[in-house]
Amino acid sequence: MNSFGNMAEAVIAGDFETVKKMTQTMIDEQVDPIAIINQGLMAGMNVVGVRFKAGDMFVPEVMMSARAMSTGIELVKPLIADTNMPSAGKVVIGTVKGDLHDIGKKLVVMMLESAGFQVVDLGVDQAPADFVKAVQEHNPHVVGMSALLTTTMLKMKDTVDALKEAGLRDKVKVIVGGAPVNRSFAEQIGADGFASDAATATDLCKTLAQ
């Protein structure tokens, strides 16, 4: 147990060298790979999430912790069958057509990944049809759209409609975000949720992916 605790501490410290070494040692000692993830790596990351929200950690430190966690996960991944791989859920995300703002969306992606989500990032300037295609291909729990321009926000509704038309709307939760977007707009276009920042977006996905 103590070694799981140390591993979590190394994740929190963002010390990927140590995380790598500890993970390898545990693998060599035939520790259950799923336990390595859940009790060591993810346990550390959960603490990071709490500390970040409390304002005790800053974004770049969270990113280092997330990288440390993935270093460990990369090592144990080959030992776990795909279907057993612990994941908080799958999210497809992109910035809508006509919009090139992606800093906020990238942060959402990084936060989701650090919370254990599998994320497919489509990039910027994505048309409704691109979202539909990605949902068909990846079968995610949640599809997320980001827009920073008042003009491009409207594309979010088009995407929701396109998902309906393709018969996919019941199979996936839709969330939206970006500076001009708000809760009432999300409701108006028939999305399932809105988040004002990356940390809230992660919590929202946790709820929706259950």
């Binding site: 304002g55 800053f58 770049p60 800093i103 942060l107 008042t150 003009t151 500076a179």
Partner: protein, 482 residues
């Protein structure tokens, strides 16, 4: 040109030494030569290829040093902007400084209801008229995003409002090249034709590509349209330190400079000598809230470095002033915006925008605009420095007044006191008189003055036939967009 800003009477300010500027130039040149830029625009890539840049794949361009130097030789060192009447209004050169608003805030902080709400056409028109009245606001941008017009028409409608509610020069946002063409049409009818507009530019196009190390198609489109019309344009890539440019001020400068120079090269290849305003927009990312923040000490230092690079290259420079992160016009708003304004003035940044921005550009406040107008006035006085000619050294006056005398009754005071800065919104009353005047805070006085200006200031109108032509251009665009 030497690095640093020369103001009045020997007042001098610089952020970088010449050697530091040289180091940054070398580092940016390395980035352009070794890492290159991805340019999502076929015509621009072709221009670059033919000029001797190295192109990998479809659009990854590597810039040899001589290509940068060639562009730096053809770009003009000064750009004059004119008002709607064709009078010179801004000489963008050397250490001259000019101030204006920002564009496209989502929310209007209604000065009279205190409400944070969306902008309507009449709000933007009223705000623009206020700018027209303020002596220290030299140019305008659109200020508010119109919530009451068709979305694809926003930029065009904003322009129609600007040109009809002020004679001051404008910096314009356009969604794409097509929008920009319509805006140029409107400007041309107001000043008497395209040729005249080229000769006496009333507007500057605002171009803001995405970092890191790439230029999107529509930014390059607009850059080329501006070059084609010989209309001044900036090329201020927008980055967030810690996200799309390095978190260190030096690193941010290296990348910003590389991106700006790559834009300059494309622009000068399209039309050598076309007016280009060097610059970059860097809002550092706050690592707790992930917001793009304005006017932090690092953002201000960054601008100082950028202006010195512009001086080093002998190019006019674009920047920021008078903007903040506060949500209402409070102490933080005034502290952040005033610090930026004074520093920008000392840095000698030629054209500074975003005066009146609150909440990192999401909200606009007219109280802050008025307070900034006053802060700019103070800064401008500081820029004039200390006059040391015999009249100002006042030896004779000192001798006249002598030990134990008083300058108040001396003619020297009567003759020169008006050169000193005079408050307008700032209150210099004693406590009793301040109470008699209603114990107002500065923001309250600003609101009072706003009300007065909104009721009493009438900008020079555009002639009826120009108004009709503008309507016609708007209608045609609206029909085209369906």
């Amino acid at each position: 040109m030497a690095v640093g800003s020369n103001h009045g009477n020997g007042l001098f300010f610089r952020t970088l030494t010449e050697v530091q500027a040289q180091h940054i130039h070398a580092a940016s040149s390395r980035i352009l030569e070794e890492t290159g830029m991805v340019i999502h625009h076929l015509e621009a890539v072709e221009l670059l290829r033919q000029a001797g840049a190295y192109v990998e794949g479809e659009n990854h361009v590597y810039f040899p040093a001589w290509l940068l130097e060639q562009a730096l030789r053809t770009a003009p060192s000064r750009v004059t902007m004119y008002d709607r009447m064709g009078r010179p209004a801004m000489y963008l050169e050397g250490s001259n400084t000019y101030f204006g608003t920002g564009s496209d805030t989502l929310n209007f902080l209604d000065p009279f209801s205190g409400e944070r709400r969306s902008w309507r056409t009449e709000d933007v028109a009223a705000a623009t008229r206020v700018c027209d009245a303020l002596p220290n606001i030299d140019f305008v941008m659109s200020m508010g995003l119109l919530s009451d017009v068709e979305k694809r028409m926003i930029n065009r409608e904003q322009y129609a409002i600007m040109i009809q509610n002020t004679t001051k020069p404008q910096v314009v946002i356009s969604e794409d090249g097509d929008t920009l063409r319509d805006i140029i049409e409107m400007a041309a009818v107001a000043v008497g034709g395209k040729e005249r507009l080229r000769q006496k530019p009333l507007l500057m196009s605002y171009t803001e590509p995405t970092s890191p190390l790439q230029h999107p198609a529509e930014s390059i489109d607009k850059l080329l349209v501006a070059a084609e019309y010989g209309m001044p344009t900036n090329f201020a890539c927008g980055g967030m330190a810690g996200a799309s440019v390095p978190t260190t001020v030096g690193g941010a400068l290296v990348q910003a400079n590389a991106e700006a120079l790559s834009g300059l090269v494309i622009h000068q290849l399209k039309r050598p000598g076309a007016p280009f305003i060097y610059g970059y927009g860097n809002s550092p990312m706050d690592m707790r809230t992930m917001q793009a923040v304005y006017g932090t000490p690092e953002a201000i230092l960054f601008q100082g470095g950028l202006v010195d690079l512009a001086h080093f290259y002998n190019l006019p420079c674009w920047g920021y002033a008078g903007c903040c992160n506060a949500k209402v016009c409070d102490e933080q708003a005034v502290m952040e915006s005033t610090m930026f304004t004074l520093m920008g003035a000392l840095q000698g940044c030629n054209i500074m925008h975003d005066v009146f921005y609150m909440e990192f550009g999401l909200t606009g406040s007219l109280e802050l605009l008025l307070i900034s107008n006053e802060a700019i006035g103070r800064a401008r006085r500081i820029q004039r420095g200390i006059d040391t000619d015999p009249a100002h050294l006042a030896v004779e006056a000192i001798q006249r007044v002598g030990p134990g005398g008083n300058f108040l009754g001396d003619e020297h005071t009567a003759q020169y006191f008006r050169e000193n800065w005079q408050p307008d919104l700032s209150d210099f009353n004693n406590y009793e008189n301040w109470t008699l005047n209603g114990s107002q805070t500065m923001a309250e006085r600003a609101r009072e003055k706003l009300k007065y200006l909104m009721e009493h200031h009438h900008p020079e109108p555009v002639p009826a036939e120009v108004k009709e032509q503008i309507e016609r251009i708007l209608k045609a665009a609206s029909a085209r967009l369906g």
